[in-house]
């Protein structure tokens, strides 16, 4: 075997530089370049012998060598045998193919190295050329709009109503009946602006109780409440009540100062 020429001729300790290579392929490429600049014309056999020489020399100094160096060495030893002493035509072909493969791999690696060099030489952003340093935002965020649609609105309303419905189970339902207190307020208010004419009690019922649609019970409650309120107001002298005959309409009117004392309650009530 040839003594392995170092990757850089004239280097005093080429073997120690093995660690400087990024793997066996890197070394092979370097050895090939030492042979010739044109990778297409290098001698694969010579290259194989150089590599094996380097690895052999390396093992005499150092016991351990990374596995990939040895794997490559084994493959190259096999390649060498095929190239030197082919048993037959098939083996010779195998050797030729393998040599071509090695050649192609070395060429590809060489290409990549050149491409990396080309990239390195480009003016790089942030190294050789600089983009604008300060940000200038030409975006304005408009938060005035609302992300709101009818679906959301209806959903919210349904949620409220369902929640309310569930809760009301535990609550006494408001009766909705016309109370005497309400009737008193209403009578006072209405009689205040009223001419001193007799009016039927029914006319003082609340709006709702006068419509036919309202429930009879509500209507009767309102009538009773209003009658009671009328009696109450008659007692403190602010109005007069009268019923001309049994089951006839109950009439009332506001009492003015000019009028006489009220009719006895007992008469009216009967």
């Amino acid at each position: 075997m040839n003594g392995g020429p170092g990757p850089t001729t004239g280097s005093e300790a080429p073997l120690l530089r093995l660690d400087g290579f990024e793997g066996p392929l890197d070394l092979l490429l370097e050895l090939a370049r030492a042979q010739k600049l044109d990778l297409a014309r290098i001698s694969i056999l010579q290259l194989v012998e150089q590599y094996l020489g380097v690895v052999e020399a390396m093992r005499t100094v150092r016991l351990e060598l990374a596995a990939d160096w040895l794997v490559m060495a084994a493959w190259l030893a096999w390649l060498k045998s095929r190239l030197l002493l082919p048993d037959d035509a098939v083996a010779a072909e195998e050797g030729g193919d393998a040599a071509d493969l090695l050649q192609a791999r070395l060429e590809e690696l060489a290409r990549i190295r050149r491409a990396a060099d080309w990239l390195r030489e480009r003016p790089q952003l942030g190294r050789d050329v600089f983009a604008r340093g300060a940000e200038q935002s030409l975006r304005e965020i408009d938060r005035s709009g609302l992300a709101l649609d009818v679906g959301q609105l209806l959903g919210a309303y349904l949620a409220v109503c369902r929640r309310g419905a569930g809760r009301r189970v535990y609550r006494p339902r408001p009766s909705g009946y016309w109370t005497m207190q309400e009737a008193l307020e209403r009578l006072r208010r209405l009689l205040g602006g009223q001419a001193a004419d007799w009016c039927a009690l029914e006319r003082f019922l609340p709006e709702l109780a006068r419509t036919a649609a309202s429930a009879p019970r509500q209507r009767r409650a309102a009538l009773a409440g209003t009658l009671l309120a009328g009696l109450e107001l008659a007692r403190d002298g602010s109005l007069e009540l009268r019923q001309d005959h049994a089951f006839g309409p109950v009439l009332l009117r506001p009492r003015t100062d000019a009028m006489q004392a009220p009719a006895p309650l007992s008469q009216v009530a009967e």
């Binding site: 600089f130 983009a131 604008r132 340093g133 300060a134 200038q136 030409l138 975006r139 304005e140 965020i141 408009d142 938060r143 709009g145 609302l146 992300a147 709101l148 649609d149 009818v150 959301q152 609105l153 209806l154 919210a156 309303y157 349904l158 949620a159 409220v160 109503c161 369902r162 929640r163 309310g164 419905a165 809760r167 009301r168 408001p174 909705g176 309400e182 209403r186 609340p206 709006e207 709702l208």
Partner: protein, 193 residues
Amino acid sequence: MTEAELAQASRLVEALVFAAAEPVPARAIAELLRMQRPSGDEALPDEVAAAVVERVRQSCEGRGVIMVAVAGGWRFQTAPDLAPLLTTVLPRPRRLPRAALEVLAIVAYHQPCTRAEIEAIRGVSLGQPTLDLLLETALIVPRGRKEVPGRPTLWGTGAAFLRQFGLRELGQLPRREELLQELPEPPAAVPDG
């Protein structure tokens, strides 16, 4: 400085101010120009640096990008008159919080109604921020006062409500009965005269 030197110095200042992350102080400009001189130690009067800066500033006048003095130094910025043409406005609509959405829905279906009525329907009190938010957006507006003790404000939906939902009129909303066939009347629907 010769004219050629001045031109080269202007290029350098322009590049520095462009590439710097912060406004560049006049002092830093003067320093860079000093370094650039073949004899770095030779004193470069501040006036010369100022003249170079002024040259750059003038060379940008009337362009789309101008050099302006701001706090701390010089920087480039787009000409103010172009800003409206360049600015893209990104709409980022807000979402209404749940509470506001519910109040709005109640007002929409029960208007005009008082705060107390809204609270009765929701079963919780109505926070001022929620009310403020709805007023701010004009989704609800006051609609007079209710003639009961305290004369509370009545609330209804405003024109903004229709716009927001793309409605011509309130009648376009589904009717309550269509929404709630199975549900009992909420308390606010109680007749009150």
